[in-house]
C-alpha cells in the first residue's frame, strides 16, 4: 500500500447485529419448515449448517478482524469432538461439563500452537497452522483406545444431570442455533469493542500499534484461543449430531472448506460466515445429488469465485436481504 493511499474504512460491526439476527431467524425458519414437512433429513441439514457456521464464524473473527489466516481450524473442532468421545468413555456426559471441556481443550491447543505460530507472518503462519492441525490428526489416529484410524461411536449424546435432553434431534438443532447466535453476537460485540478495534488496527499496521505501546501478539493470542474454543464447541455439537468421532472429523480439507465459507460469505462481517456455511452445505448437497464427484464442482466454484473476483456471494445475497 502506498503511503498516500487513504486508510481503509474500518467496518462498523454493530451494523452486523441485525444481519446476524436475520440469519438466525432464517435458520430457525428452515428448521420449522423441515419439521413441518416431516423431513428429518432437512432438519439434520439445518443442524449441520448451524454447527459448521459456528466454526466458520469463529474463523471469520480470526481472518476478518485479526487478519490471521489459519489453515488449521479443523483441529480445535476435532479436539472438541474428541472431548465428547473421551469424556463419554469415562462416563462424563453432562453437557454442563462436556461443553466447557470441549471449549477449554480446544482453546488450550489453540493457545499453545498459536503462541508459536504467531511468531511468524503470512505464508509461514498458514503453513504452520496447517502442520499443527495435521499433528493433531495423526495423534488422534494413533489413539487406539479411542478407535484409532477408524474412530468410534460416542457412548451417548450429552445429558443434563442424567436427563437425555439432546436425544430428540430437534433439541440438538435448537441448541446449535442458540449457541451459534450466542457466539455470533458475542463476537460481534467483541469486534465492536476497543479490543476489536485493536485487532483490526494490528491487521492494518502493526508498527503503529506497537509504537502506541500496545501488544498485538497478546491480543492475537487471545483471539486465537477464543476462536479455537468456539470451534471446539462446534466439534462437540458435531460429535453429538453424528454420534461418531474419527480422525477424519479433522481432515485438513475441512479447514479449507471453513476458509471457503468465510471468504465466500465475505470476511468483513461475521454474519458472512453464516451465509458462507449455508452456501457451502447447500452446494455440497445439491452437487452430491447430481454426481458422486461433487467435489469437482465445489472446486470449480471456489476457483471460479477466486479467479473472477466474485468471491463475495454476500454482496449478491445482501442485495436480496436489503431490497
Amino acid at each position: 500500500m502506498s503511503p498516500l493511499a487513504p486508510a481503509p474504512a474500518v467496518p462498523r460491526p454493530r451494523a452486523g447485529i441485525g444481519q446476524t439476527a436475520a440469519l438466525m431467524a432464517l435458520l430457525a425458519a428452515a428448521l420449522a419448515l423441515a419439521y413441518g414437512l416431516g423431513s428429518s433429513y432437512g432438519a439434520g441439514l439445518v443442524t449441520r449448517t448451524a454447527i459448521l457456521a459456528l466454526a466458520a464464524v469463529s474463523l471469520s473473527f480470526l481472518i476478518g478482524q485479526a487478519g490471521l489466516v489459519s489453515f488449521g481450524h479443523a483441529a480445535p473442532l476435532g479436539i472438541g469432538a474428541y472431548a465428547v468421545l473421551i469424556a463419554g468413555e469415562y462416563d462424563m456426559t453432562n453437557i454442563l461439563a462436556v461443553l466447557p471441556l470441549a471449549f477449554g481443550a480446544a482453546a488450550l491447543f489453540a493457545l499453545a500452537t498459536g503462541a508459536i505460530a504467531l511468531r511468524t507472518r503470512g505464508v509461514y503462519f498458514i503453513m504452520i497452522t496447517l502442520a499443527f492441525a495435521q499433528m493433531v490428526f495423526y495423534v488422534a489416529a494413533s489413539l487406539s483406545a479411542f478407535g484409532g484410524d477408524d474412530g468410534m461411536a460416542i457412548a451417548a449424546r450429552s445429558t443434563f444431570f442424567g436427563a437425555r435432553i439432546l436425544k430428540p434431534d430437534l433439541h440438538l438443532a435448537l441448541l446449535a442455533i442458540a449457541l451459534l447466535a450466542a457466539a455470533a453476537l458475542g463476537l460481534e460485540h467483541l469486534a465492536a469493542s476497543r479490543y476489536g478495534l485493536m485487532l483490526r488496527a494490528g491487521r492494518e499496521n502493526e508498527t503503529k500499534l506497537e509504537a502506541l505501546g500496545l501488544d498485538p501478539y497478546r491480543h492475537r493470542l487471545i483471539a486465537i484461543s477464543v476462536a479455537g474454543g468456539i470451534a471446539g464447541v462446534a466439534g462437540a455439537l458435531l460429535a453429538n449430531q453424528v454420534e461418531y468421532v474419527s480422525p477424519s472429523t479433522m481432515n485438513w480439507h475441512l479447514s479449507g472448506e471453513l476458509i471457503v465459507m468465510v471468504v465466500l460469505g465475505g470476511s468483513r462481517r461475521l454474519g458472512g460466515a453464516v451465509i458462507g456455511a449455508m452456501v457451502v452445505v447447500l452446494l455440497d448437497e445439491a452437487l452430491g445429488r447430481f454426481t458422486e464427484h461433487w467435489k469437482l464442482g465445489l472446486g470449480l466454484v471456489i476457483l471460479g469465485a477466486v479467479l473472477f473476483r466474485g468471491a463475495e456471494v454476500r454482496a449478491l445475497l445482501g442485495k436480496f436481504s436489503h431490497g
Binding site: V69, F71, T120, M127, I259, H293, G299, L300, L303
Partner: protein, 307 residues
C-alpha cells in the same frame, strides 16, 4: 537393536529425506520468486506418479515411460501455470490458499473419475525390483537405493542450476530482492512460469520415485504436501539449501522416531504406557521439532528474510 536395523532405518530416513527435498524444492522456489503459496503442489506429486505409471504401462519400457511421464508433468506444469496460477500470484495469500485449494479438489476428483479411488499398480523393472545384500544380515531393496541416488543427483543438479547459471542467479536474486530484479528489466512473470513448471516436474519425479513404495492413489499428495510445508518452515522459505538440510533432518527424525521411539519409551516408562504414548509421540516428533526450531529461529534455519 542390531546394526543392520539401524543402518537400514538410516537409509530409509535419507530416502524419505530426498523425496521430501524433491517436493519441497519446487515449493520453496515458487515461494521465493513470487511469495506464492501453492497448496496444489501435492497434486503435482500425485500427478507425476500417475503420469509415469501410465506412460510406463503404455510404452512397455520403464526408462522411456519415465522420461515421457516427466515431460508430461512438465507440460502440465506449464498449462496449469498459464490457466490458473499466474492469475493468483498478485493476489493476497488468502486468495492464493483458496484458489489452489480449489485446484486440489478439481484435480484430485478428476483423477478419481478417470482412475477410480483404488490404488493403481506402479510397475518397476525386474532388475530394480529385487534387493541387494549390503553386508551380511542386511538385504536392502534396490529401488530404495535408486531413490537415494536419483535424489542426490538431482540435488547436485539443482545446486549447479541455482548457483552457477544465469537463471539460477535470477532465482536467487528474486527470492530476496524481487522489486529490484524486476526493475532491472527481468521479466519476473516469465521466470515464475519456468520455475513453476520445473518445480511441478520435480514434484512429479518425487511422486514417480515414491510410487512403488506407497500406494498410487488420488489423495497421495495430501500427506506429503503438509510434511513439505514443515520442511520449508524449518529450512526457511525460499532457501534451497535450507530445504535440503531440513528435508534430510525431517526425513531422518520421522523415520528413526517411528522405528525407535516406541522401544525407547518402553524401557523408560514401561510397556503399557509406551503402547499408548509411543505411536502418538512418534507421529508428533517432526511437528515438535518444527515448534522447537521456530521458537528459536522464527524464520527457519536458513531463512534470511524476516518471515
Amino acid at each position: 537393536m542390531t546394526t543392520a536395523l539401524i543402518v537400514s532405518q538410516v537409509l530409509n530416513g535419507l530416502q524419505l529425506g530426498v523425496i521430501l527435498f524433491l517436493v519441497a524444492a519446487g515449493l520453496t522456489l515458487v515461494f521465493g520468486v513470487m511469495d506464492f503459496i501453492n497448496l496444489a503442489h501435492g497434486v503435482q506429486y500425485m500427478l507425476g506418479a500417475y503420469l509415469v505409471a501410465v506412460s510406463v504401462a503404455f510404452t512397455g519400457h520403464f526408462g522411456l515411460g519415465l522420461v515421457l511421464g516427466l515431460l508430461a508433468a512438465l507440460a502440465l506444469g506449464f498449462v496449469m501455470e498459464i490457466l490458473v496460477f499466474r492469475h493468483l500470484t498478485r493476489r493476497d495469500h488468502l486468495e492464493q490458499v483458496l484458489g489452489t485449494f480449489g485446484v486440489i479438489l478439481i484435480v484430485t476428483e478428476a483423477v478419481r473419475m478417470i482412475f477410480g479411488s483404488a490404488p493403481i499398480a506402479f510397475p518397476v523393472p525386474a532388475t530394480l525390483a529385487g534387493s541387494v545384500t549390503l553386508f551380511p544380515g542386511l538385504n536392502y531393496p534396490v529401488w530404495r537405493l535408486v531413490i537415494l541416488g536419483v535424489g542426490i543427483a538431482v540435488a547436485g543438479l539443482l545446486w549447479f542450476l541455482v548457483n552457477r547459471t544465469r537463471i539460477g542467479m535470477l532465482v536467487r536474486a528474486g527470492s530476496t530482492h524481487r522489486e529490484t530484479v524486476s526493475a532491472l528489466g527481468v521479466d519476473i512473470d516469465r521466470l515464475f512460469l519456468f520455475v513453476f513448471a520445473f518445480g511441478a516436474m520435480l514434484a512429479g519425479l518425487a511422486g514417480a520415485m515414491a510410487g512403488p513404495l506407497v500406494s498410487v492413489e488420488p489423495t497421495m499428495g495430501d500427506r506429503i504436501l503438509i510434511i513439505a510445508f514443515v520442511v520449508i518452515v524449518v529450512g526457511g522459505a525460499g532457501s534451497i539449501k535450507g530445504a535440503f538440510v531440513a528435508a534430510l533432518l525431517i526425513g531422518m527424525v520421522d523415520t528413526l522416531g517411528r522405528a525407535f521411539v516406541p522401544d525407547l519409551l518402553k524401557s523408560l516408562v514401561g510397556r503399557s504406557a509406551a503402547a499408548t504414548a509411543g505411536p502418538a509421540l512418534s507421529s508428533m516428533l517432526i511437528y515438535l521439532l518444527m515448534a522447537a526450531i521456530l521458537s528459536v529461529r522464527p524464520s527457519g534455519l536458513f531463512g534470511g528474510r524476516t518471515a
